[in-house]
């Protein structure tokens, strides 16, 4: 993608698409970072800002969709251009979901605020930190078209899943010991699940970056099988072995 097209306006269109996706990525990252901060500090004002901010993420996704469809219709992109545009289209959908999970985290912060304070929320902070690093690496890989960094980010999903399993086990143990904490723990488990899902979407983004750079699907070239996503919230399910 380093060479210019003969038709300059094509390059301008592609740059516009890239800039919109980067803006969307920066916003989704900031939404998630602020939601995690609101959770850690019981900051309900910040949580409300995050909830309101989600509309902007959604608007940017619509913008990316319009730009992508326009490029496909008017430029008939081929080869790496085609892969880049299709990947951008998919990446924006993942970013939109990340925004949703951040907003949902914000809503749960408001609920937790009405419940007695519990130190268990600390258990989620390392997960949020890991997911945030992973998301940042992914977005940087997109900006720099850096396939190695995309792979690094992709490889961070498994440890995040492992940590999620640990958190779920811990929460279920706490709930069994002290039923008065079931309400708060249920919300914390959903938050943990949201963070784990954010990691999955960052993984998708990394795969799309790998694809548009190399032309190959990431799963075909990676020695490890792709990490399976835990699809149930039951703490004692077979997936938490």
């Amino acid at each position: 993608m380093t060479d210019r097209h003969t038709v300059r306006s094509y390059d301008e269109d592609l740059k516009g698409l890239t800039a919109t996706i980067l803006e969307m990525g920066a916003l989704a990252e900031s939404q998630f970072a602020r939601a995690a901060k609101a959770m850690a500090t019981r900051d309900t004002a910040l949580a409300r800002e995050v909830i309101e901010g989600d509309a902007r993420v959604d608007a940017l996704e619509r913008d990316v969709n319009e730009r992508s469809i326009r490029l496909l219709a008017l430029r008939q992109p081929m080869a790496d251009d085609l892969r880049y545009i299709i990947s951008g289209f998919k990446i924006s959908a993942d970013l939109e979901r990340i925004g949703d999970y951040a907003a949902n985290l914000g809503k749960r912060v408001l609920v937790l605020d009405r419940l007695p304070e519990t130190p268990l929320v600390r258990e989620l902070e390392p997960m949020a930190d890991m997911a945030l690093v992973m998301l940042r690496d992914t977005l940087q890989a997109y900006r720099d078209r850096d396939i190695d960094r995309a792979m690094d980010a992709w490889n961070q999903d498994e440890p995040l899943d492992d940590l999620y399993d640990v958190v779920v086990k811990k929460m279920s143990g706490v709930m069994m010991e002290d039923p008065s904490l079931i309400g708060a723990c249920a919300h914390l488990m959903f938050i943990a699940r949201n963070i784990e899902r954010i990691g999955d979407h960052a993984t998708n983004i990394a795969e799309n970056i790998y694809f548009f750079i190399s032309g190959l699907p990431l799963r075909m070239v990676h020695p490890k099988p792709a990490p399976t996503t835990v699809e149930t919230d039951t703490p004692d399910g077979p997936e938490t072995e």
Binding site: H5, T6, M78, A79, D80, D81
Partner: protein, 271 residues
């Protein structure tokens, strides 16, 4: 910009098709126009009964190569062809080859529709008549009708077969030329930018026709429209400065080409 001084060693992709039903096997073909070396060491296989597209910027050698497949280059003064072009194992440049017969096996459709200044019927009947294909008027009528049907033109002209071919629209004239090519039952149809003088609807009809014909004929099409190559062909060969650069399945060429020159050309970065 793309480094066009890239030195050409071999071809990216899969120019050879082991295990396939091969119509043409081309080995080390060089074509010269006087001192100009127009085509350089081109070698590839062309599969039977599918559409192969040749693409590349102007002057890349794609039309020269197409014309070397039925010895149309023989008609050009100072043109010299070296190397081997085998059609089902027979060298078309062997001295004993009857060029007229060869061109019946390997028909051609040109950029500009060029019907004879004769009736629609006579345009199609001409080939079978000179090649002695039809033994009776009934048989000839049958060939004319089936050729026009296969070219998707029968319904439009059945009531005016005696009208001059030149009175048809551009798209109809091109389909008449395709009917004329089909009438002598060729194995291969070479098409040199067959749609470049046609409007989009006439183009779509010709592309639809190419698709239908590819079940029975080997079709090789030179086109400047990459979208057309993508739409109609199963394999695509990219030429640049007289070299065959990359030859691969069409979807691979347009989604994930391996050579930087192919990539640069099809994405509109040079050419």
């Amino acid at each position: 910009m793309i480094d066009q001084s890239f030195h050409y060693e071999g071809v990216t992709g899969h120019p050879r098709l082991p295990g396939r039903d091969i119509k043409f096997s081309i080995n080390d073909v060089n074509v010269y126009y006087g001192p100009k070396h127009a085509l350089k060491n081109v070698g590839l296989d062309i599969a039977s009964r599918e559409v192969t597209a040749f693409i590349g910027p102007s002057g890349c050698g794609k039309s020269t190569f197409l014309r070397s497949l039925n010895r149309m280059n023989d008609l050009i003064d100072g043109c010299r062809v070296e190397g081997q072009v085998l059609i089902e194992g027979e060298d078309i440049y062997a001295p004993e080859v009857d060029v007229v017969e060869l061109r019946a096996r390997v028909g051609m459709v040109f950029q500009k529709p060029n019907p004879f200044p004769k009736s629609i019927y006579e345009n199609v009947a001409y080939g079978p008549r000179i090649h002695g294909i039809a033994r009776s008027r009934d048989e000839l009528d049958g060939i004319v009708q089936s050729s026009l049907e296969r070219a998707g033109l029968w319904k439009e002209v059945r009531d005016r077969l005696d009208a001059p071919g030149t009175g048809l629209s551009g798209g109809q004239q091109q389909r008449l030329c395709i009917a004329r090519a089909i009438a002598v039952s060729p194995e291969v149809i070479l098409m040199d930018e067959p749609c470049s003088a046609l409007d989009p609807i006439a183009t779509a009809k010709v592309e639809e026709l190419i698709d239908e014909l590819s079940g029975n004929y080997t079709i090789i099409i030179v086109t400047h429209s990459m979208q057309q190559a993508a739409r109609v062909s199963q394999r695509t060969a990219f030429f640049h400065l007289g070299y065959l650069i990359e030859c691969e399945q069409t979807d691979v060429i347009f989604m994930n080409p391996q050579h930087p020159l192919t990539q640069g050309y099809i994405t509109g970065r040079f050419g």
